[in-house]
């Protein structure tokens, strides 16, 4: 599954200062389904190069990190249960910095 991931609000510093990542995720369960929960753990393992506690807390994003799927708040689509499809754009924005 091909996805475009964007990191903002300072999160890009955790992934080699790169804001936009075009990734290809292999699914292991044989199905064509990927949910946000799976994506988060994939990102944690493959993209986050330092200070993982700034991105995730437990099995979800750190409180204060906003997640958008195709420019839509993930709180509207079930958060961790949000299902992802090929060519989706997922944006992670941290709000935890000075204003």
């Amino acid at each position: 599954m091909q996805l475009t991931l964007e990191f903002g609000g300072g999160l890009e510093l955790l992934c080699d200062s790169k804001k936009i990542h075009n990734v290809n995720i292999e699914q292991h369960n044989g199905e064509d389904k990927l949910i946000m929960k799976d994506l988060l753990s994939w990102v944690q393992t493959n993209l986050i190069k330092e200070r993982p506690e700034m991105f995730m807390k437990g099995d979800t994003v750190r409180p204060g990190v906003l997640v958008l799927e195709n420019d839509c708040d993930w709180e509207l689509s079930g958060q961790l249960n949000t299902s992802l499809e090929d060519k989706d754009v997922v944006v992670f924005i941290s709000t935890l910095h000075g204003g």
Partner: protein, 265 residues
């Protein structure tokens, strides 16, 4: 209109206000599911209401916007500029920035403020710790170490804003402190037993007895909404943590409040 299974209708809820467009954001303030346009309207009109109800401004006033290049002050400059035009507040707006002399942090965010100056067409004044006090924050930290940096910096910055404001001959200073900031401050003062600060820290206007009062138009505005507004409107802001802030006590209050918010919903 619900789609059939297999179509891309995942999470396609309608805006609860206009009931026509697809909802893009769940507002933490009201828990409403709302589309972009309705969100912009609600966001802006609520701030306009806060300004009116609290009588924050008078026509003809010169107002300096404390601008750091960060999310709150950038959105504040954008929205205040817009409301000033839309509702004829009759204000003369300025951007006022403080350069604490923190390498790798402030020099980058000041570039953002210079861009904001052009993007919003507002005159800009920058005052620096070096000019005012003869010390940059970097130099101060080298002497005092990595402890209580925010305490020193906070005091110096308030003074610096006052000095900048008087150089600009403004009647008022506005800052981008949002609802989350104020919640953290309440908790912070509670935890420290600072009763004096606790009694003052939720006032929307402060320093009325002094030469230049300051106010916080974003007092009731949620941080998430500020960030979503900036994201959808593609507003230019700088977002890196000050290198000295990880040691600040406020971080604990922030973490606690964010955890509470999560279980509240």
């Amino acid at each position: 209109m619900e789609g059939e299974g297999g179509e891309r209708k995942r999470g396609a809820r309608l805006c609860c206000v206009c009931k026509k467009s697809r909802a893009s954001v769940k507002r933490p303030k009201t828990l409403e599911q709302i589309c972009r346009e309705c969100f912009y309207d609600a966001f802006e009109s609520e701030i306009h209401q806060v300004i009116l109800e609290n009588q924050l401004f008078s026509p003809g006033e010169r107002v300096a916007i404390g601008a750091s290049g960060g999310k709150d002050s950038t959105v504040l400059a954008y929205v205040l500029s817009k409301l000033n035009r839309l509702h004829n507040y009759g204000l003369h707006l300025f951007l006022l920035s403080v350069d604490e002399g923190i390498t790798g942090y402030r020099d980058d965010s000041l570039e953002t403020v210079h861009r904001n100056q052009i993007q919003y067409g507002l005159p800009l004044k920058v005052v620096s710790y070096k000019d005012l006090y003869g010390w940059t924050m970097d130099e101060i930290v080298r002497v005092i170490g990595l402890k209580n940096n925010c305490t020193f910096c906070g005091v110096f910055r308030r003074q610096a804003l006052d000095r900048g404001a008087s150089l600009l001959k403004v009647d008022k200073v506005v800052t981008g402190h949002n609802a989350d900031d104020i919640a953290e401050t309440v908790l912070l003062n509670l935890l420290r037993g600072d009763v004096a600060r606790l009694s003052r820290c939720t006032s929307i206007t402060t320093g009325e007895d002094g030469p230049i009062p300051r106010c916080k138009p974003f007092k009731y505005t949620y941080e998430k909404e500020i960030v979503m507004y900036a994201y959808f409107k593609k507003l230019d802001y700088f977002s890196t943590e000050c290198i000295y802030s990880p040691n600040a006590y406020r971080g604990f209050a922030r973490e606690f409040i964010k955890d509470l918010e999560r279980i509240r919903c």
